[in-house]
Every structure is written in C-alpha cells, then in structure tokens.
C-alpha cells in the first residue's frame, strides 16, 4: 500500500505513455516528465512569493498581503496578471537582442538544473553518470545571463550591479563546489541517484544522512551559505538591493521580462536547495526509520519547504553585507574551512567505525572554525543588543 502510493506518479506516467503509438514513446515519456517538473516547480514559485511576503511581514511585525483571496493566497494570480499586462519598455540605447535573450537564458539554465534532482524513488528525469557536474555546469550559465542583462541596458548602474553580481557568484561557487565534493567523496559517485541511495540506511531509528556527521554538518552549513550567495538572496543581495542600486542589473526590465528574471532567480534557488537536500539531507529518504511509509516525494518537498522557510527567515533577520565584506567572507573564511572540511571527510572515511572518528572529525571541524573566526575578527567588540518594538 505504501509502495503503491510511493510509485503512483511513476505508474501514472507509464499508463499515459502506454496509450501512445510505439514510435513516439521515448519522446513522449520525456515530455510528460518535463511538463510535470515545470508545472510543479512553477506553482512552488507562485506559492513561495506569497509565503515570503507574508513571512517577511510577520517578522517585521506587520501583516503581509491579505487583500486578494483569503489570507492573501491568490496574490500570485494578481501579480501574474500585472506583470503580463504591463508595458514592455526597452531603453532606446539598449542592445535589443541581448536585452531580450538575457532572461530567456536565465530561465533555461535554471530549469535545466532540475534534470538531475531525484524528486522521489525512481523519479529522476535523467540519471546521468556525472549528474553533479551537469548541475554545476548549468548553474554557471546563469552568470553569463546576468552579465548579458546588466550590459545590454547601457546603464552605468546596471553594469555595476551586474559586475558585482557576477563577481559574487563566481567567488561563492568555489566553496559551493568544494562542499559538494565532500558528499561526492563519501558516496563515491557523481550520480545524484547513487548519492541518495547511499544515505538510505538506518541505524536504530536514525538515518545515514550525511548531515548527521561532523563533516556533513559543516559541509551543509557551507553549502547553504554559498547557495544564499549564489542566488543573490539577503544577506548577500547587494547586487539587487532595493535601497542600494535601485534594482541592479534588472533596473531596465519591466513587465514580463522582469517576471522572468524573478522566476529564474527563485527557480535557481529551489534547484540549489534541491541539490543540498540530495547531497546532505538524504534526498527522498525519511528522517526516522518508522516513517518510511510516507511517500518519498512528500519527504523531498517537505525538506524543500523547510529550506525555503530558512531562506525567508534569514532574509528577514540579517542585515545586508557590503561588497568587500562579502568577498572577504568567501575567500578568507569559507574557502579555508571548505578545504579543511575536505580533509576531514577523507579522515572520516579511512578511520575505523566507532567513537574515535566522531571525536577526531568533530575536533577537526570545530577548532579551525573557532581559530579562523577569532583570527579574522580581531578588534571587534560585540555589544549587547537592544531591541525596540513598534508601538
């Protein structure tokens, strides 16, 4: 019974494909999977816009949008109609072709990252042998589209924002990839399906997720910080901060192209969270051994919603980082920690099972963090925080 509920979408696809003529079958199967992915993640995007605005509102001690529909849940519909019917203004001096292609390339690159994420048991679009490498290759095309957007607007502020955004994304790609390599090392394969399967066992009631090991926890934290920076989310959103540089590289975009940029950025964020879930949080496996009767795709989306909630929480809480603080953080703090984490993973793999390797690896993760943090923060004094509530 649990097995049938788990594989219901796979069985549905097989039934649909069985009704088509034999020559078209492989193409039709792919098309159905792609349409399903697009539909699910686009509606997740719509839901996230409302969640974010209401969540941010509550953190900032106000209601979010609550006019359109009960509790404001039909707000994405209103936003969609607005962005589709707004006038599409292109600056006269802008480079029309590049200006048009930039959001297209962004959305293409962002959606193609979903091809290697295993959403459930047997539910991956393309079981590539080098899945993680394909994911990072697709995410590096996103940087090109951001540069295209910033440059084609012929606007000094857009160009400056684009350059900052590209520099930030390239800098944070290094700790991102190094943190992922630790999970790849532990699983022994670049294929995302294999990485999830390696985390599918249980000792007692606890799962074998990589995040529950010292190196996995450090790797997960590094991965999440790097993902926040890669998606230009607060506190790393200097390139698109509303109070800093108007809207950065998409200042000159209006209407549907702006909506496409918004979509592309959020889709990229979901895809990277999805990779973090696959590499560290066990993909579609259940957290406790007696909960495996819940279908696997529900666990994946539950974890994804948890990550989205974390992103919204951090956005509402932390202040924005300045550009030089951002770059220092990437190169001087996260890169050494990611390299030490790589060594820790190797040590974990080759020490015998038992309490010794837990202690050694925990020490190897915590001590450099404390030393590096103290070393880089010399001379800063932390004052006690005083909160002032709105009356």
């Amino acid at each position: 019974m649990a097995e049938a509920a788990d594989q219901i979408f796979v069985a549905l696809e097989r039934w649909l494909v069985g009704h088509t003529p034999a020559g078209v079958r492989p193409v039709f199967a792919e098309v159905i999977s792609v349409v399903a992915l697009l539909a699910v993640f686009a509606s997740l995007f719509a839901m996230t816009t409302v969640l974010e605005r209401k969540g941010l509102g509550r953190i900032q001690n106000r209601y979010g949008p609550n006019r359109v529909g009960p509790f404001g849940i039909l707000q994405p519909l209103a936003d969609g109609i607005k962005s589709l019917t707004k006038e599409d203004i292109v600056p006269q001096a802008a480079d029309r072709i590049v200006h048009f292609l930039a959001p297209v390339v962004l959305v293409l690159a962002a959606f193609s990252m979903y091809a290697v994420l295993p959403v459930g048991r047997n539910m991956v679009l393309a079981n590539l042998d080098a899945g993680v490498l394909f994911f990072f290759a697709a995410s590096s095309v996103m940087e090109v589209s951001i540069f295209m957007a910033g440059w084609s607007s012929r606007n000094k502020y857009s160009l400056l924002g684009a350059m900052r955004a590209v520099a930030q994304m390239i800098s944070y790609e290094v700790p991102l990839i190094l943190a992922s390599i630790t999970a790849v090392m532990a699983a022994g394969s670049l294929s995302t399906v294999t990485i999830v399967e390696k985390q599918a066992g249980y000792t007692g009631i606890l799962p074998h997720w990589f995040v529950l090991t010292p190196w996995g926890f450090a790797g997960f934290v590094l991965f999440m910080i790097a993902t926040t920076a890669e998606s230009n989310r607060s506190p790393f959103d200097l390139p698109e901060g509303e109070s800093e540089i108007i809207a950065g590289y998409f200042t000159e975009y209006s209407g549907f192209k702006f909506a496409l940029f918004f979509l592309g950025e959020y889709i990229g964020m979901f895809a990277m969270s999805g990779l973090g879930i696959t590499l560290f949080l066990g993909g579609w496996t259940a957290p406790l051994s007696f909960l495996t009767w819940v279908p696997s795709y529900l666990w994946f989306f539950a974890k994804l919603l948890f990550m989205i909630a974390m992103f919204i929480w951090i956005r509402g809480t932390l202040p924005r980082l300045r550009m030089d603080q951002l770059m220092n953080f990437a190169w001087k703090f996260m890169l050494p920690l990611a390299l030490i984490n790589l060594v820790t993973t190797g040590v974990w793999r080759f020490l015998p099972h038992g309490i010794l390797r837990w202690i050694v690896c925990a020490v190897m993760v915590v001590v450099p963090y404390i030393l590096l943090g103290r070393g880089l923060a010399q001379g800063w004094k932390l004052k006690k925080r005083v909160y002032r509530f709105a009356e």
Partner: protein, 163 residues
C-alpha cells in the same frame, strides 16, 4: 544530422566572434561557439569533457574575457581593429586549412571502419586520474596555483614609492 546542425552553429559562432566589431558581441558569439562544441562532445559520448567545457570555458574563461574587456574600456571605443596586413593573415589561415583538409581527406585513418560507442564511465575516469595520470594531476594543480598567483601579481596595481 544533429552533429551537422551543431557543427554549423559552432562555426557560425566562431566566425562571428572573430569578425564582429563590438567586443562584447564577439564574446557572446564565442560563448555560442563553446556551447556548440560542448554539445558536439556530448554527441561523441564524452560526457565529462562536455560538462567540463561548459563549466570552465563558458562559466569561467568567457567571463574572465568579459571582465578584461570592461577593465580595459575596449567596449566603448569602436576603433577599427583590423590592421593593414589583413590579407597576409587571411591567406595564411586559408593555406593552413588547405593543408589540413588535404591531409585529412587523403589519410587512411579517416576511412576506417565505424567503431561502437566506447564506455567512459565516471568510475573509469576517476581511476585513470588517480592511478595512471596521478602525476599530471599534481602538475596541473601546481600550474593552476602558479597561474593564480602570477595573474594576481601582474594585474595588481603597483604601489607608488616616493618619487
């Protein structure tokens, strides 16, 4: 047939990269050429190399070239950047292509039998890198470190001493 389409796309991108006046358009055409080549690698069955091509060339080298264009302000000046001796360059390139095409069409390797798709799984690539090609792997690590330090040293501003 798919190979022909992407081959023509690659050649068009390369030709546009070398002949456009606007430098940033030239780099964008170069990105198209790199992408076309990556698809050709995938069609030939070299998945690792295809993805590495996208990751390194499009995601790093092209962006580096763009940064250099913006730092040297070459995007604004639309000066004619074709020298007086372009005939000699063109003739040389044509001659090189002629020799290569003649050699390709007359060699015995080109007319051999078709081979089945070789298998290049990630496991085999990893084994090759760690066992047979371990020394080149270390050397390229050293090379990249040296290039990184060298590039930073060359491109950083010199400190003005007391004049």
């Amino acid at each position: 047939m798919l190979f022909t389409i992407f081959a023509i796309l690659t050649l068009a991108g390369a030709a546009a990269a070398m002949s456009l006046r606007n430098l940033v358009h030239s780099v964008l055409a170069l990105i198209v050429a790199f992408g076309g080549l990556a698809v050709v690698y995938l069609l030939l069955g070299a998945q690792f190399v295809g993805f590495a091509q996208v990751l390194v060339y499009i995601g790093a080298v092209a962006i580096l070239i763009v940064f250099a264009i913006l730092l040297t302000r070459s995007a604004d000046t639309a000066s004619s950047s074709i020298g007086g001796s372009w005939v000699a360059g063109g003739v040389t390139a044509l001659a090189v292509f002629g020799v290569l095409a003649w050699a390709i069409s007359h060699s015995s390797a080109s007319h051999g039998a078709a081979m089945p798709q070789p298998e290049a799984s990630m496991q085999q690539i990893g084994d090759a890198l760690m066992l047979r090609f371990a020394l080149p792997l270390e050397m390229i690590g050293l090379l990249l470190t040296a290039a990184l330090i060298g590039a930073v040293t060359i491109a950083s501003r010199e400190k003005r001493g007391p004049r």
